[in-house]
Symmetry: C2
Subunit: 289 residues, 2 copies
DNA sequence: TGGGATTTGTTCGTATGTATG
DNA sequence: ACATACATACGAACAAATCCC
């Protein structure tokens, strides 16, 4: 039999949520940048329930990503910053402004003008027998790979974690700088074209969302709420001969990132200012079944 | 000052997680399809903590999406089904097998052969003054829109919720079937081309991940855990004149959906079997800075 | 700088309700 | 009807972090 009345904590939680959305919480404290909820003791009296029941409600609100509690300070309405918009299709392959050269984030991830990307030192590792990597790069499982890992910041704030993989052969066949923990200023793609003669003619992206691991939580300052998930994009790039060319895995904090893709003919301002909105007039035609 | 020792519930939770991952839980019950954890009372004795502390640990594991509890039954390890892979770039615009005609899911969302999509009746509404819709379609805020909403099933299982929007003008200008709560078998894009003369030449997608609302939770059978989030894809399609053409918002359950995009030249088996893996050999070149 | 007040975090105990088998 | 198992709810004590005078 289904429950007829909701539990008390649920009533408390939903009332708090309404009050948060209406903005009429913390009446004496409406000035602060970060809106604060009344302390648990006050809520206890206000709703006529025990502190534990109040905490059940707050716990649910935390999981929903609506509030966050800090020991000794109080419980606060979560402030979600404006999202960063990243175009993953436009800059690559010379399909859009920015061309296809330079650092990976100029190739793979187009960001609106005026933003600054800073890059951590490269961490280089040699790995063997990763089933996942082998699968994407279509190699034997015993193949050894070079992984190059970096942390990316946008305007000084944590933005993405990124790792690229390629077979160890690349380094011995002429692209030795892949093994050095230094940036490749002209971009690894350009470098590999120059040294090994490979041209990137297409790519395939796979996107998932998942719970972050500890390292990702730390870098992006994420908690345990359902809002604190990450995107994982897996880009497989192909050479002219149709062979898997490179594998780049990027982690993005989903609460403040929007991913964009363009295909076909798209107005310029949509390409260059994703999420910004170019004002223009309308005209008809529709879709959907 | 940072805490030196973790709380007891955290120890319990992490130990349970280890035991879950190693598979050595529920020793007398290893046969069942769904692995069951020992009851709370047993854990209480095993770890020497109170039942409330055990429940703190289980609660955290639930939020992480690792377990789920059912009243009267027990606590079970969550079984994540194999993901469905959907290609959002290939089928549209005739860029890939499947062409560009027919129902939306043949145009917009390419799925591997052998899967069957079934569609709910269309729910048609007329809406006014949606700031969001106006923004994407670049219209005035007072413009009225037709919305056409459908539930999609893949092989009989809930797969996606989808809503398309276009100005009410479309219906009065000749595309009257948009207002009828019936499928448009040849596809709305083809229908609008025929009636209003618009051709779709490109599109822009924006992808986000967020906590589901009640309706989405219900349709996809999602809970409150951090694994139970949804993708929301917003597709804006453009006509030859570069005007916003249609707006299609699709909701996907992120725990069992992978989104795919292709660009440029990509091997055929990657196009037609995303997530399936065509076995082939390797060859070098790399990327990343 | 100190010390007390405030506020949330952790942990326990207990009782009762509800769903399952 | 009974036993099992999770859910809800209350009360209480102390710890830990912060705030404020």
């Amino acid at each position: 039999m289904a429950r007829t009345t909701p539990p008390r904590w649920r009533d408390v939680a939903e009332d708090l949520l309404r009050r948060i959305e209406r903005g009429d919480l913390a009446p004496g404290d409406g000035s602060a940048a970060r809106r604060r909820l009344p302390p648990e003791k006050d809520l206890e009296l206000h709703y006529g329930v025990s502190r534990n029941t109040v905490r059940e409600a707050l716990s649910w609100l935390q999981n929903q990503g609506a509030v966050t509690s800090e020991q000794g300070k109080g419980t606060f309405v979560v402030h979600r910053p404006q999202a960063d918009h990243v175009t993953l299709s436009a800059a690559a392959l010379g399909l859009a402004p920015g061309g296809g050269d330079g650092e990976w984030y100029n190739r793979d991830a187009f960001i609106p003008a005026g933003r600054t990307v800073t890059v951590s030192p490269v961490k280089v590792e040699v790995q063997e027998g990763s089933q996942l990597i082998s699968w994407y790069l279509q190699t034997d499982e015993e193949t050894e790979f070079i992984s190059r890992h970096q942390l990316l910041h946008l305007d000084g704030r944590p933005w993405a974690m990124q790792t690229s993989y390629y077979p160890l052969d690349f380094a011995t066949a002429g692209a030795s700088r892949l093994l050095k923990p230094r940036n490749i200023p002209e971009g690894a793609v350009a470098y590999l074209k120059e040294t090994l003669g490979y041209t990137e003619v297409g790519f395939h992206d796979e996107i998932r969302a998942r719970v972050p691991n500890e390292s990702e939580k730390h870098f992006f300052s994420l908690g345990d709420s359902a809002a604190d998930v990450v995107f994982e994009t897996v880009r497989t790039a192909y050479s002219e001969s149709g062979r898997a060319f490179r594998l780049t895995i990027t982690i993005w904090p989903a609460d403040r990132t929007r991913l964009h893709y363009n295909a076909g003919d798209v107005p310029d301002d949509v390409l260059t200012r994703p999420g910004q909105g170019g004002a223009r007039d309308i005209s008809p035609s529709g879709d959907d079944a």
